[in-house]
């Protein structure tokens, strides 16, 4: 066990910390970055929509016009990438991902989902994620990685052309990027709803316990 992991366990047992400080800081930094990225991204999308009948109102966009939105997008991208990388590294090194997000089994996900929908899922021990949470969190982390990589591939289709080719070329990479965004928005809707339904989980994500 690394010293970081040991330290986490010590503080966790000492004060019954459910969400250690690094998780909280990185989680909320990520939330801000993601929202800036989505809002400016929708404005960029409007300059050349992928779907003819789908454009976004100015009330949900950021930047005012394409040029402003690009400035926001390519500024918030650093926040998202640096914070996301730090979260991934810390999550793996401390063993948090392994401890909190694994194992995930189809059967476990189904039975926890059924329990949740019939309001029989226990929320007594917030330090343990149920199978639905594990699936959603592991899934959204994966989507986070894909959205950054597809973003890099449409930002630099010459310099990073092998990455762009991996996504099937520039045009397809744009769809992948948009699809990942849509998935994150869907996740966010469910995620925020659940956080509000179980307020003590929200409290733990803010003050730690």
């Amino acid at each position: 066990m690394t010293s970081l992991a040991a330290a986490e366990q010590r503080t966790a047992t000492a004060s019954r910390v459910i969400q250690p400080a690094w998780v909280r800081v990185m989680h909320w930094t990520n939330a801000v970055a993601i929202i800036l990225m989505i809002m400016s991204g929708l404005q960029i999308y409007d300059a050349s929509p992928l779907f003819n009948s789908l454009t976004f109102s100015r009330t949900v966009t950021l930047g005012g016009w394409l040029g402003g939105a690009l400035l926001w997008h390519f500024a918030a991208m650093w926040l998202l990438m640096v914070n996301g990388l730090a979260y991934l590294v810390t999550g793996f090194v401390t063993g948090r991902f392994k401890k909190k997000l694994l194992p995930i089994s189809p059967r476990g996900v189904i039975s926890d989902a059924v329990a949740a929908l019939t309001f029989r899922l226990s929320h007594d021990d917030l330090s343990k994620y149920n199978q639905v949470q594990r699936l959603l969190y592991a899934g959204i982390i994966a989507v986070g990685i894909v959205i950054v990589l597809s973003g890099l591939s449409i930002w630099k289709p010459v310099q990073f052309q092998y990455l762009t080719a991996l996504f099937g070329g520039y045009d397809i990479a744009r769809y992948v990027h948009f699809f990942c965004m849509s998935t994150i928005v869907a996740f966010l809707a469910i995620h925020v709803l659940l956080a509000v339904l179980v307020p003590k989980s929200l409290r733990a994500m803010i003050i730690g316990h």
Partner: protein, 261 residues
């Protein structure tokens, strides 16, 4: 933003101006280009305070954009070639795109036109089209990527800019080649020297093997497949080799200046 303000000359028909400005342009009445009122309202709500007022946000965004220029110059590999495509992949019809309608595109008489050359070069003689046509040319079928997000594959033929820079005795340690164009309101754009010397950066005289049509920039377009479309000036009338950053039509309005792809 000086340019936008200059556009609002009293007596000029505002309706015409608005029609001419593309749908992508910011509100002409609004000086600040970064944020729309409604969207900023949302951000203020999010942060719960007015600390991020639009002036300081604008300053911050400009600084990050400069930082992004440096990052992109660092990432830029002068030997990495833009992917090329078979002729069958060419987009037909290839889109016309500008901040004005195609009918307002410069209508240049090739016999009168000359390419002016100035700045840090040994030979400042102006070049006629016939003289330029005699220089060695090469052809490329590459993807044109617009800042708006769409892309199209085209075929351009012309003289490598690096060759021309050598012929005119340009100081290639200078920072930029700055192009002036004949578009209405005066289009211009700076090109960093590393990109200007890239083997695929050409002075294009032909599109799809035909003399460059008016819509695509007759008589000369700088084709730069390692840059976004707006860094590929059309209707070029002069080139200055310079160490000064002189700004550009879109660059001054907020598009990232390096805009490499």
């Amino acid at each position: 933003m000086g340019r936008l303000r200059k556009l609002l000359i009293p007596g000029v028909d505002k309706k015409l101006l608005v029609r001419d400005a593309t749908r992508l342009m910011p509100d002409l009445t609004r000086r600040r280009f970064i944020s729309g009122g409604a969207s900023f309202g949302a951000l203020t709500l999010l942060t719960g305070c007015d600390v991020i007022d639009s002036d300081s946000a604008e300053e911050m965004l400009k600084k990050v954009s400069k930082f992004n220029d440096a990052v992109q110059a660092f990432i830029f590999n002068p030997h990495a070639l833009a992917p090329t495509f078979p002729e069958s992949a060419i987009t037909k019809p290839f889109p016309f795109n500008a901040y004005y309608e195609v009918d307002d595109a410069p209508d240049i008489d090739g016999k009168d036109w000359k390419l002016e050359v100035s700045g840090l070069v040994e030979n400042k003689k102006a070049w006629t089209l016939d003289e330029l046509y005699k220089l060695p040319q090469q052809k490329q079928v590459t993807r044109h990527i617009c800042v708006e997000g769409w892309s199209a594959i085209g075929s351009w033929t012309g003289t490598p800019l690096s060759y021309f820079l050598k012929v005119i005795g340009a100081d290639t340690t200078a920072k930029y080649c700055w192009f002036q164009c004949a578009d209405k309101d005066g289009y211009n754009s700076p090109l960093d020297m590393e990109t200007a010397l890239h083997p695929q950066t050409i002075m294009a005289f032909r599109f799809a093997d035909e003399i460059l049509p008016r819509a695509y920039g007759f008589p000369m377009k700088i084709r730069v497949p390692t840059k976004l479309g707006f860094k590929n000036p059309k209707y070029v009338i002069s080139m200055e080799v310079t160490n000064d950053y002189k700004g550009g039509y879109w660059e001054d309005q907020g598009y990232n200046s390096f805009s490499g792809s």
